[in-house]
Amino acid sequence: MKAVLAIIRRDMTLAVRQGGGAGTAIGFFLIVVSLLPLGIGPDLNLLTRIAPGALWVALLLAVLLSAERIFQPDYEDGSLEVLLASPVPLEIVALAKALAHWLTTGLPLTLALPFLGILLNIDIADIGPIMLAALLGTPALSLIAAFGTALTMGVRRGGLLVSLLVLPLYVPALIFGVVLSSGAMRSGPGYAPPALILAAITLGAVVLAPIGAAAAIRAHMK
């Protein structure tokens, strides 16, 4: 447990001090959101309608943008081999690193969502579900990104490849995240079904993604 906390603290410190942490992700998020009205025109009704989907796509891209730092620097400078030799199981290491990534990317992006949502003219009543969706969904995004980057460690043009690998796996989280965010559930079945499915996706990712990531790291290190 102490080792896990140490890994999380180390990764967060690195993310903050090297830049490319929360600030960059939020900056990227802000730019994508501000490009959107420029691209489709400033019609507020239209923006309200497409805002949940647009926010989620921007969220996926922002998470993906910083995903490379989960394993790539440690692979290059050799500290991943030290982690591999440590008594902590590699699966737990992967889980800790994904958690650190979420704390420096997914969580700040979730907190930034209401402000960006207001920029896109979202109904104030919808802010709560959007944040709930992001809170439930972004851990899965970080975990799946950790799996994807573990697969492409040390590969030429790995950044481009990782989006090709990871985006298909993001589809379920995206679908239910947008369903929960869009306010379509306000009448009818209520918020519970998509929220529960999103939570299930994240819980599934908590179990499966570290196993996959650890298997990929072992294959790379052999």
Partner: protein, 242 residues
Amino acid sequence: MSSMQRFANPTRFMALSGVVLPWVAGVAVVLLGIGLYWSLFIAPADYQQGETVRIMFIHVPAAWNALFVYTFMAAASCVALIWRHPLADVAAKTAAPIGASFTFLALVTGSLWGKPMWGTWWVWDARLTSVLVLLLLYLAYMAIWRAIDEPSKAGRIAAILAIAGFINVPIIKFSVDWWNTLHQPASVFRAGGPAIHPSMLWPLLIMAAGYTVLFLAMHLSAMRAEILRRRIRSMQIARLEG
């Protein structure tokens, strides 16, 4: 000597597949010939869809095989990861381009069928989107094989990806039941028997068998080519090492 040991099993495979391949290819040609003639000339036109229903005989078997090949690929990847069987590695790698072609064919014929039936080439419904995701997974799988130079490492990494992507297969299968979409639900393999008239079901099943045997024939020859390619590679390395 170690290279001889490594190819001990593939050698037997090469001998066996060399004998079997012409027969499998012949069966594929016969089945596809009968199936195509039956579905394009004998089978009746649909009372609602008219002649366009014949697209089904090309489209549905391609979609079935797209899923079948991915399932096969994931299973072969499991075998390759667990038992390090060299043939399983080759089987998974060479199945991917064929599966991607089936997926592409299903998407294109579905689009051609959608235009007269639904009035649009493409809709973002659950079935279409998840099949598109399947195509992307095939492409990602092929990309990662090419991106990693060392074949044994590339094989393991690609196998892990194939198994992770297998999550998509049940999603595709049940997408039309889970979401209310434009694409029709399953009408052949369902509880209570097929909902399709025998005059159309038979040519459809023959076409499906023809596609599957065609996959077998293409896959066998692709595996043979891959094994030969690896042999040439190891010979070249051996020569360079002198």
